[in-house]
Symmetry: C2
Subunit: 244 residues, 2 copies
């Protein structure tokens, strides 16, 4: 069948995958995607053809998936978390217009904003922004502006890609922008690492403490609104259900 | 076991539920929640005790779940979509500090921002905001300010609770705020209704067209950034993978 499923597999283990995602992978002849994500699912489907590509090969990966589908295969393009949130759905759909014979189905999944929030409590219990600190694909000026406006709007904020080897100081830069935009140094924050995978870690801390933390590409960061509180060991953004 | 699971069951059908959510429901003695959501899962677990409450009984529902857990039961508090995004995780955790003997586990799920986006394409392919138009729990001034800042930051925006019987004109008001804040009338938008349920609908349209639409509490609305495009029948926000 000439079809590409773009599949969000959730945070990591099979446990975080929806039935719909499992069915899409099961229907596919070929599983393709970034090596690390394919490793998370190939054990479940040992009989499938596998095509892995390395980081920063996103367009090549989409093109290959579409070419295989055009040849009559059913292809699952595997994404960590959700298919759409910084995932492959967007580039795949842009290229798919060149392949009118290929059917595309996007299968959503639990993105790190949700799975990370659940480990910390409920930091995204009211209005929130999701911002990536990676300036590979978005100019830093634009990221900085969005951080400033998120602070001004008193949104809770979830940061993706808060750091990497080449961007070791980006989380600190982001914290400084938020502080300069008026967020309190005592703002309640948290981070999670390797969600749903071996070595999973979590920490809740203040914004001034967060500024001192190291973060890598497996870390997701949460910055509270002015209403966010610590409740025991949880990070919670109330939605205003009155005086509890 | 003195335990409350707060469980996001995804968009509606069993298909959108994660394995982790299914396991939590299965481990529970009692399923409790808003009638409409309980109806979505009780068929899967006909043997469970069921406790349903009506709308706007959120705190009562949390209190009952905690009381039952304090008496030794394992309770699953069922949320549509995710447990944390405008869900029960936040009020439950606020009350849980009064019940030190009760263990709480938050089980994330696919929220409407993700499941709705997947039906439309990839509107949340780059930085985005999630804003609820319900002013029951948030003052309208604050909602208006967030809409304005979201427009200024050129975020893609996902709107929850865009309308109801008593708030029939809220989506139009929100569109007018975004237009006044400088968003083009031609901004690419979309909405979905009854995601994953019988009667599911989707539409892609411009912001000036969206302004004329009716929306209810089962509708989720997506407003693109300035980069969002229509690709065939899809709504796609590119992430800047160069000239495709």
């Amino acid at each position: 069948m000439n079809k590409v499923y773009v599949v969000g597999i959730g945070p990591g283990s099979a446990d975080g995958m929806t039935e719909q995602a499992r069915r899409a992978l099961s229907a596919a002849d070929v599983l393709c995607g970034y090596t690390v994500y394919i490793d998370l699912v190939k054990g479940l489907f040992p009989e499938k053809r596998i095509l892995t590509t390395s980081m920063r090969q996103e367009l090549k990966r989409c093109r290959e998936a579409l070419n295989m589908a055009a040849e009559g295969q059913t292809v699952a393009l595997v994404c960590s978390g959700d298919a759409g949130v910084y995932g492959m759905a967007s580039p795949l759909l842009q290229l798919a217009s060149e392949y009118p014979e290929v059917e595309v189905e996007i299968v959503p999944g639990v993105t790190a904003a949700l799975s990370g929030a659940a480990l910390l409590g409920a930091p995204l219990g009211n209005d929130f922004c999701v911002i990536s600190l990676s300036d590979l694909l978005t100019p830093w000026d634009e990221i900085e502006k969005r951080l400033r406006l998120a602070a001004e709007g008193d949104f809770a904020v979830c940061l993706y890609n808060p750091g990497s080897r080449n961007r070791a100081d980006y989380l600190r830069k982001a914290c400084d922008i938020l502080l300069a935009a008026g967020k309190s140094p005592k703002t309640r924050c948290g981070w999670v690492r390797e969600i749903g995978r071996p070595g999973q870690k979590r920490r809740i801390l203040t914004l001034e403490e967060l500024r001192e933390e190291a973060a890598d590409m497996f870390t997701t960061v949460f910055i509270g609104s002015s209403s966010t509180v610590f409740m025991n060991d949880w990070l919670v953004t109330p939605r205003g259900y009155g005086n509890l």
